[in-house]
Symmetry: C2
Subunit: 197 residues, 2 copies
DNA sequence: TATAATACAGACAGGTTTGTCTGTCAAAGA
DNA sequence: TCTTTGACAGACAAACCTGTCTGTATTATA
């Protein structure tokens, strides 16, 4: 029943998903068509629609895979060594590397949300929200390390979350890295101010 | 030569620009076609292309008009009464009202930038940058009021700018107002921390 | 060996998009 | 009065888009 181990060609579904991930990230969900995806993935249209009922379902699969990956990275960072400030520093450094490497394409979720706001896509909207709230939670957990109360940690976590989001957005708009550096610095200042509260 | 005073019908160009502004803001540049614009503006396609050589030029005109308006508002706020903290509070309050009133459509410039990243549009990219840098400057000027040095004002201004951007982005993604409230609170904390530095 | 699943190729439908073009009409100014 | 200008109507082209469909080939498993 399930398509478990049985595949004889290099797996068309994976090729499609990988190709779509790259193209969607580079040019956005609306900027890439099915035809280009299947062409670059070297597959047939019938094969595509065998694995994905619609283009939107491909988008969902892409965002879901990306979300699992990013959440795993945040989890590893949380569980790793170092203080919260160290981890924040590392997180923003990695963010800068990621943005520069992807030619300042910004956050795939935010970018997708701006395109799919109209025309149904309720599942996509939900996915974007879940991802964002997961990142918000990550910063909240970090803030727990140095904030007095849980309530205060929520506040500080939200501050860090906004700095992260703003840095990502404006690095994309301005195609520069200073927003990430500014966010990193502000985050550090925020944490230090919090410790002597 | 110039189209100065002479118009006999209620001015088709204005109608097109006004209609486009509304539709672009509601559904994004890529989500609205020429046909819908001219239909809702009750004009003809030939008239449209008489005033705007391309769809992109219409987008430029839209963003330019919006930029002038928003810059004027910021200037008035800067010149108005009250402390910098008062002005920041007011600014974020107005931002929340704006986002809620426009059904959390976020920043038109950022939204446009995600769509037009590919396919030329060098002028549009420049317009987005100019707008963003103008807002950055606004926060920098506010920070000058309570920051010790000009250098420090630049840093604090950037922090505020990122909070603003993050709040706008995440209010759009999550369709809620708390990011704006969190940004307002963090901005206030930042200012107060700066004063006793 | 037979079956079922996966893959391929590519035509096709029906819709959208931007932009061009032809031609008519009304009114302001020379 | 005549010319110019802006506006109107709408057909049309050419390119895209998503999704359907027919038909064939390969291969693992029952």
């Amino acid at each position: 029943m399930k398509c478990v181990t049985t595949t004889r060609k290099p797996n068309a579904r994976d090729r499609i998903l990988r190709t779509a991930a790259q193209l969607f990230h580079e040019r956005g969900y609306g900027g890439v068509g099915i035809n280009e995806i299947i062409e670059k993935a070297e597959t047939a249209k019938a094969t595509f629609y065998h694995h994905f009922p619609t283009k939107e379902s491909l988008c969902e699969a892409w965002l879901e895979a990306a979300h699992e990956n990013s959440e795993c990275n945040r989890q590893k960072l949380l569980e790793g060594p170092g203080t919260a400030i160290d981890k924040l520093d590392l997180y923003f450094s990695k963010l800068g590397e990621y943005l520069a490497a992807s030619d300042f394409r910004g956050c795939p979720y935010s970018n997708t949300a701006t395109v799919t706001c109209t025309g149904g896509g309720e599942a996509l909207v939900r996915q974007v929200m879940d991802h964002k709230l997961s990142i918000r939670d990550f910063f909240r957990k970090l803030a727990m390390e140095f904030s007095g109360s849980e309530e205060r940690a929520r506040e500080v976590g939200d501050s860090l979350f906004l700095l992260y989001s703003g840095a990502t957005t404006e690095a994309q708009n301005l195609r520069v890295l200073w927003p990430v550096e500014a966010a990193k610095r502000t985050a550090r200042e925020l944490c230090e101010a919090e410790k002597c509260r």
